[in-house]
Amino acid sequence: MKLNDYLYSFLVGGALCVIAQIFIDKTKVTAARILVTYVVLGVVLTALGLYQPLIDFAKSGATVPLTGFGYLLAKGVEKAVKEDGFFGVLYGGLKATAAGISASFSFALIWSILFKSKEK
């Protein structure tokens, strides 16, 4: 455990949230659009080689935001293409993100059984 990992996680993770907050306040963009934009942006930045340095520098500050989800998609497809050629294009992205997606749906089903909708 290194203290700097936490400092940089806080700063970079916080900064990525502030960028989204500015867009939400200025343009009234919906939450769904922010999520989609961040994931696609993560893929693009990783493809351009710009996101890996941020991952190395900020660790969870770069993996926990949704751009990190895009990073996993891009890295996954790279790995699959290296191992399996063109076929890898079709499964690499989802394979690398499968754990998070599967967990999200399974947990959500459990919470849906256990909890009721709150009155608003």
């Binding site: 990992d5 996680s9 949230c17 922010i34 999520l35 998070g100 967990a103």
Partner: protein, 150 residues
């Protein structure tokens, strides 16, 4: 500075909007930074327990997904998100909440056409466009890789 009533209301309104926006950004920064630190904490814990770096990172995300879903279920997530704004939306917690909250709300419509289909209301577009982006990149990467570019 002389202003009539209408000008003043406009002026004060703009100031309030501006300061609200600054406060929102500070809150988003603190909550978002804190969640990422929490993620780093879980990651270090899983490395300490003997997992590889990449596995630990994934398990840390899964843990945050678990907690964000639980908080959504017991009604704490909305209370925190009201202050945190993008601070809870942008981290993986926002994705988990976007899957869980519509699912729980749709319980009265049953578990097939209600809960399960509502899980995809926001997560669907995220997964579709993320996957398509990765496929486009994969095709480009394939040709660069095969031509010995990387």
């Amino acid at each position: 500075m002389h202003m009539n009533k209408k000008e003043y209301i406009e002026y004060a309104g703009n100031r309030a909007k501006k300061s609200n926006s600054v406060v929102n950004c500070i809150k988003a920064f603190i909550f978002g930074g804190f969640i990422c630190c929490l993620g780093q904490g879980f990651r270090d814990l899983y490395v300490f327990l003997g997992e590889e770096e990449l596995v630990a990172s994934t398990l840390s995300s899964v843990t945050l997904i678990f907690l964000a879903g639980l908080f959504t279920g017991i009604g704490w997530f909305d209370k925190i998100a009201k202050h945190a704004g993008a601070g809870t939306l942008v981290p993986i917690t926002g994705f988990s909440n976007a899957v869980t909250a519509p699912a729980i709300d749709a319980k009265s419509e049953g578990f097939i056409t209600g809960v399960a289909s509502q899980m995809f209301v926001i997560a669907g577009p995220v997964i579709v466009y993320g996957t398509v982006a990765s496929i486009i990149y994969g095709i480009i990467y394939f040709f660069i890789y095969r031509s010995g570019g990387i």
